[in-house]
């Protein structure tokens, strides 16, 4: 039952996202650009942090440093 509710919840989020994308894409292209752009900026910045940890682990393996 919990899985079903999770599935329904995520399906609702997906439908809402598609609805928002269609409406804002048609009537508010700049709002749509903000939604997509902000998501992208957050994801790339988060990826940068994950990359930092990976680089740090590699340096630690080489015995150079660990922060």
């Amino acid at each position: 039952m919990k899985k079903l509710f999770t599935f329904l919840g995520l399906a609702a989020v997906m439908v809402l996202s598609l609805f928002l994308a269609v409406v804002t894409g048609d009537y508010g292209p700049w709002y749509f650009a903000w939604l997509v752009g902000t998501t992208m900026i957050v994801m790339i910045a988060a990826a940068g942090a994950v990359m930092f940890d990976k680089q740090d682990e590699e340096l630690a393996k080489k015995g150079i440093r660990e922060r």
Binding site: G28, W34, G37, I41, V42, G48, A49, R67
Partner: protein, 546 residues
Amino acid sequence: MDMLINPTVVELSRAQFALTALYHFLFVPLTLGLSFILATMESVYVITGKPIYKEMTQFWGKLFGINFALGVATGLTMEFEFGTNWSMYSHFVGDIFGTPLAIEGLMAFFMESTFVGVMFFGWDRLSARAHLVVTYLVALGSNLSALWILIANGFMQDPRGGTFDPNTMRMQFSSFVDLIFNPDAQAKFVHTSIAGFVTGSMFVMAISAYYLLTNKRKDIALRSFRIATVFGAISTIGVITLGDALGYIDAHAQPTKLAAMEAIWTTDPHPVSAAWNLIAFPSRSEQKNYFEISIPYVLTPLLTHSEDTVIPGIIQLEQEAKPRIANGIKAMVALKAYNEDHGNTAALATFKKYENDMGYGFLAKEFAPDQDLAKVNASNLPSVLDKTAKATIPNVWVEFWSFRLMVAAGFFMLALFAFAAYYSLKNEIEKHPLLLKVALWSLPLPWVACEFGWITAENGRQPWTVYGWLPTFVSASSHSVGYMIFSLIGFTLLYSSFIAVELYLMFKYARLGPQEQHHHQPEPQTAGGGMAGQPAFAKPSLSPKH
């Protein structure tokens, strides 16, 4: 509407609104940007489970909290200022302007403030994922709050979604959809929001640079620096391109703003070779630039994104305004006749014919004999037209230079973020102390850019509060000069104390920085992790006494 308001009161009302708005906007952009940076840091925490990202979120969150509280406090007065100092404006467009303003208030004080409380005090009461959702809601709430005030501002810049009703003598809603999807509001929102992202990035980058230069918590500083520089580099590209888009939209909606922004006095009939003024010293009285450094072939593609669009100069725009002013005078005279006798259908028909130029008639009132448009006749009409036409142009000097200072700051920050992100991604940032010092001392730049950006936007809209419909000089309340001076001094003192408190607390906690932690928490069950049970502000890593 027969008597004009004392011009000194109008100027003092403008000064007071400019002061409170510019003060308020010292706090807003950091809230807009830092909230999403916190969400980014917490996302990494939830994804990787590494406690250091939770510590980073909490540390930067504390600085966010200081700024947020003062931002809300300074914003409150502005909501009421529309009613107290701009009562004619509120009467004229309140039906339209009040709606986004009310939604903005609801967003700011209910959604945003509620979730801010949960974000600060919910670390030990929510799961990590639930807390992350709350942090995102804070970020979304603060930006949505900005969205609604910028929709309201968009209406002032390019009025859409409303029509004037001669029976009620005010503008009324015709389309809510037109109001919220107004291109000016859209472009302004994305430009302003992303400018906030740049501000948040600069804040985190500069303070992280300080920690790196002083060897303080390098683990947090290097990670914060990485997130801030990547976030900032992309955001700065965004804010510049979106600023260009906003300028493009404004070029159609407000040609006078564009001409003043670029100090274009005469129309160049050859758009391909038209020169763009890099530097100029404009003279309004002589309608020319005393000195200018211009680059040919740049103006037209830069402003119109084409090669063959002629950009009208200020002198041409003044001439083009004259027929609208003449029509506006007819509209205003007819409107007055209709108001005296609602059965006067001929007056209503005349008003309807010239309704779209009504604002220009309003504007002419200042220069009409005895400020009575009914006294404008064939002999004094040319003089009224000349003076009113000149009044349609904003202050060119202020517009030209505020725009350039904003753009210069933007491009400098782009270069800084690009270099900083490059060396951070190569993991070599510590080898470049000079760059770290530049990053630290560049901290005020995004605020400088934001403030000059608003001066460009609002000075460029003059002489209107609602572009083309309502002049500024009839929008104010009829207070006494003494009252305005008293309240202006009061606001200056109050807001200066807010700034002093903000700077004191920010410097105190930023200098203190996150404290050393020699223990590593296990994978947390709640967002509070190993420190569950303690209030967020009492955590050892954040205590100012350490």
